[in-house]
Amino acid sequence: MNDLSLVVTILRFGFLVLMWIMVFSVVAAMRRDLVIGRKAKVGQPTARQARKHPELIEEAPPAKVQARQLVVTEGPLAGTTLELSGTPILLGRAQDATLVLEDDYASGRHARLFPQGTRWFVEDLGSTNGTFLGGSALTRALPVELGVPVRIGKTVIELRP
């Protein structure tokens, strides 16, 4: 009888231990899942994983570099640079524009560059001759990537890091 009660006692505590083993093994199983969102990357993929899942290596965009300068590459003002701050930039012939274009083909208030998050967007303000981003006319605000030419009349500007 004494033996049995010893066994029962051991089992009783054993059960409590087992319950906690269950809890901790669940926690252990979800350990790698605790990081949420974009930073959930865990280490580099091994060679074998890379072979099986090529999409892992192509590795998304290189670290985002913020645009710091606006450079005029063509047109009457070619060579002008403008430091970018966080404020929107008005481009046109009007005297209150941030960058006053001496360009007969540009409208008074031609286009606007504005920051949104980490990117800059360009938007046409109803100009006569239109604004071209990388060769196509703008119909709505679009993000401007680094080095992509934006044409306003005969002036071409681009963003540089």
């Binding site: 089992l11 009783r12 949420i36 892992l56 709505r140």
Partner: protein
Amino acid sequence: MSQLLTVAKPRRNTELLLIIVALGMSAMANALVNLNLGRNFDNDFYTQIAILGGLALVFHIVLRLKAKYADPVILPLVIALNGVGLAVIHRLDITSGDSAATRQWMWTSLAVVAAITVIWFLRDHRILRRYTYISLLISVVLLILPLVPGLSAGSVNGATVWISIGPFTFQPGEIAKITLAVFFAGYLSSNRDLILLAGKKIGPLQLPRTRDLAPMIVAWLASVGVLVFQRDLGSSILFFGLFMVMIYVATSRVSWILIGVGLIVVGGTAAYQIFPHVARRIDVWVNAFDPEYIGAAFGSFQVVEGLFGLANGGLFGTGLGQGTSDKLPVANSDMIIAVIGEELGLIGLFAILCLYALLVARGFRAALGTRDAFGKLLAVGLSFAVALQCFIIIGGVTRLIPLTGLTTPFLAAGGSSLLANWIIVALILKISDAARRPIDVSTADNSKPTNDQPLKEVPSP
């Protein structure tokens, strides 16, 4: 661009391992009950373990086939809880001569089959969104059913929440929990922007427009209706809490919480003044240790005995089958937490609470991971319903709040609750599968805007 950051692993083998631990827990609990109460290890013991193991295995295989990327820890957690519940009900049966455990086994099997059916036939949780308003209709019907004269099972323990069909009784309100969550999720994911943008701002609070308040008023009236006509305080709190959390998650406006709390205060005070059964609940709660209340019918005997039981259990518990809580009325449903607390002690009770916490956390994780607003809201709503239900009943048993008749999910004896909660688990598993499944980069699916995932519009300056 692919959102793939690591190789997406199905992790079904992890699940299998955890299921084995969970089944071990269940078997050991049953064995301890038999040992402590001097029962033989007859065939019943082995068949029951085999049934639970078989059900778990079938579910596991269905997940492998139909929801390969579903969360690997949810199923083991639920099996562990259900298994411990079965053992405790079996233990209470032995001392009270009831046959609740057999019924619970039947319902467990039925519930698991229902959950498997959901996993198998529900291709995508977003399909449910089409049935937003049908869900509302079903919820209303389900809530009214217990009041229909032919079907109603009458007033049981003061609440009219049961229907009886032939020899079976069923609590339709449990299923209404799910359909209401589907309705709220569908409604809020479609109307979220409207609710968010309109309204005036007073100080730091953005107040909603009056007409956007309508759904909240409807939810409030429904909860009050449940309280008045069915006399079911627990479900009433559950439904309103569910709506409040879902609208808060959808809009992240604190004003909704304040309005909701205001409505609760108004409704609660009115109910306390007008309805004697509500006032009685509160009185019993406040004066629980008053001998007058302990002795009275519908008095505090249950709660007080439960508390004594918890105290008797101490840190390590008396051991399964050795407690005194089996004398409690409805020990195997409302008061099952008190029995567990006595016989497994604080350490065991906390392990159970941890299992619940992990389960709810995994539901929230699925909500964070999934990419459509409807899925997010549904997962949050369903997990929160489980959490709130635990809070209401465990809070009631430990006398933190007045005791109301809700079942402890998965543990307590009660077929409808078991069925509803297993279906909830199936839905959460399905959503987590959608959340963890890698996006197929080969098809140009990503570049096309869909209803649920519109391409980000460029904000106008």
